[in-house]
Point group: none
Chain length 216, copies 4
């Protein structure tokens, strides 16, 4: 089961909560995400965004001070609002399910994150693009991930360690494993090398389980 709402859906929520964003502005954000993601930020012109959104070029500047602010508006909710929400949802959900078995927990994480990647591919691509060319943004993303993951991963790990179900891997090692798995899946999708998602989830979670579970 995909626990993850698509970013677009969560986003829609976020946007409706912002009463000062008109339908027009929402369509601008949507157009900006699409074009920034596929062409890159610099290679996308504001008039192109306006055209894609079906509005006048001047209208882009009604809510967004400039092109940079539009980029921020496209990205900021991604992990200032949406991603955070998504992670919290995951945490709540995983905890609420009271995972008894490590295997189930690992599978749940992988499933959840892979669907997240699949559903939010354009936004993630755009984020990566920015990460590659913006030092400050890169740092912000890092600190965000660290804070988010730490908050919900540590208690669960502690639990499985205590129950002697998890091999003796450090927290850092664990982060790297999860991180590497996600990046690996993203890369495979990017390069068109990915199998159907269910198979990918199966393989990746099995791989992690083999590596992490004391049963192996």
């Amino acid at each position: 089961m995909m626990s993850e709402q698509s970013l677009d859906a969560l986003y829609e929520q976020t946007l409706s909560q912002q009463k000062d964003l008109s339908e027009v502005q929402k369509s601008v954000l949507k157009a900006a995400l699409k074009l920034f993601s596929s062409q890159g930020f610099e290679a996308t012109s504001t008039s192109q965004i306006a055209q894609e959104a079906g509005v006048a070029s001047g209208s882009v500047y009604k809510q967004f001070k400039n092109k940079r602010a539009l980029l921020a508006a496209v990205l900021a909710p991604l992990f200032k609002g949406t991603l955070q929400t998504a992670v919290e949802e995951l945490a709540d959900q995983t905890l609420s399910r009271q995972f008894v078995e490590l295997d189930d927990f690992i599978y749940a994480i992988v499933e959840d994150r892979f669907y997240f990647i699949q559903n939010n591919f354009p936004a993630i691509k755009l984020m990566l693009n920015q990460i590659l060319t913006n030092e400050d943004f890169r740092k912000e993303v890092i600190s965000f991930f660290e804070r988010q993951l730490e908050g919900f991963l540590l208690p669960v790990i502690e639990k499985f360690h205590v129950e002697n179900k998890l091999k003796d891997v450090s927290y850092a090692e664990l982060i790297e494993l999860i991180f590497g798995t996600m990046i690996g899946y993203f890369g495979k999708v990017l390069f068109g090398l990915a199998s159907p998602i269910k198979i990918e989830i199966e393989q990746s979670s099995q791989q992690l389980i083999r590596y992490l579970s004391v049963k192996n």
Copy 2:
């Protein structure tokens, strides 16, 4: 030991062999790599490149028809010349060493590729940047990797399969594992999460060995 020469080194070689590239043009290429990699292609102006290279703006266009051709000149040798050479060197070397043990082979690959990533980080970052916003380039990279890896991986895998040292994993699975490992390391370096390279090599190769060796 690291068999990999840094791209810069191999590049330097390639450049010296190209008698039609002046010192000025070499410095232009160097400046272009640096700036394209750190800022992105679109966000880098040719005059900025000229300034970084310490030449006049017009000189950028002496050997390179236009900005795009300069990008190609920065990237093309990366995997049309250098990377190919590097891969061949690895193949020669691994075969020549007549690896008896799978563990040694895995370790050698990981070591070799991790050093390659470390030494050529800017160029790889730039390549990734292009991959994210250029469909054709993405396809070229894919086909390149496929051709290169197939050529030197298949025989070795066959050998270890025959010797019953390698678990029953498909070629595709193997590729994904290696691919994922490399992307994972690149991502960690990108995010500043990487441990010292020797430790990373140790951990990643151990992980792969545990997953691939029949001994486990």
Copy 3:
């Protein structure tokens, strides 16, 4: 009497009919005609045009894709619209007047064309400039002239031949005579050697009459 409206006048009409051409763009066209004509196409910079038109340099490109398109916009109506209209007007007029005498017909043509040349000197100069350095343009002009002249000259010639008022000159010979007369007048204006236009018309038409009329 001058039957010919000046190209500028006819042009103005054409422009007003084009609702998508703003006042700014009309002034750009006017400035372009003036400068292209006096300095040549290549020697005129777009910023010079903008300055002459009293607009920003970027505004030149609002309606005209590029400098070449601006040249086309300046020239195309000249003989794609206006000249054609002018020729048709002449044809209508000459036929409607039901010229009884060859002398009157010749005089009417010369008068009409000379006024046309006088009133559209800059545009014709520009056209000539392009003819000298653009093979394709030259061919287009030739085919245009041939089509236009044939359509309205042949019937009239036939009439006068039948009436035995016109000497036995071929159509080609006639074209050359008219052509040569017009070129001759243009050249004299260009070199500042022309007498007042009424005298020029008188002389040139008399010359043609002497050469063509059976009465001589």
Copy 4:
């Protein structure tokens, strides 16, 4: 600028330069004439000329101070040398032949000038191009023609007037007739409308004779 120096000054310069013009420089002049004439002055680059001439780009500047001076060098001899010589030759020849008949004189002039036009078409085209876009150059050409023609035409005209063989046309009218005939022929060649030159000479001279000779 061409117009800065008088044609006379240019002529002197050119002459002295042309004595020590190497084969290389002659080929540069040839290339410049060819390219300027076919593409126009502005549209022709000096490196293109160098390539056409088979020399290094810097070599173009060895004898010619700049591109403008090269244009001058290409054009100046055209009418300070060739045309002048031609006119003088014509004068000598016509006088030496002691033309008894006006018809022969007219035929000789037409024949001479038409061949001149045919043989020097590229240079004339280039000259015309300059005339169209350079006010000063235009004026100089006019005064040159006037001076040249006056010198050798007036005596002959006087002769035929005295002999009562020439109709009562003014000198100005005569100039215009000759001028118009030449321009007409040039235009016809330019537009590809010219018949074989012998026929053109025949027709044009007959036309002039009919108009000028008292016998008609």
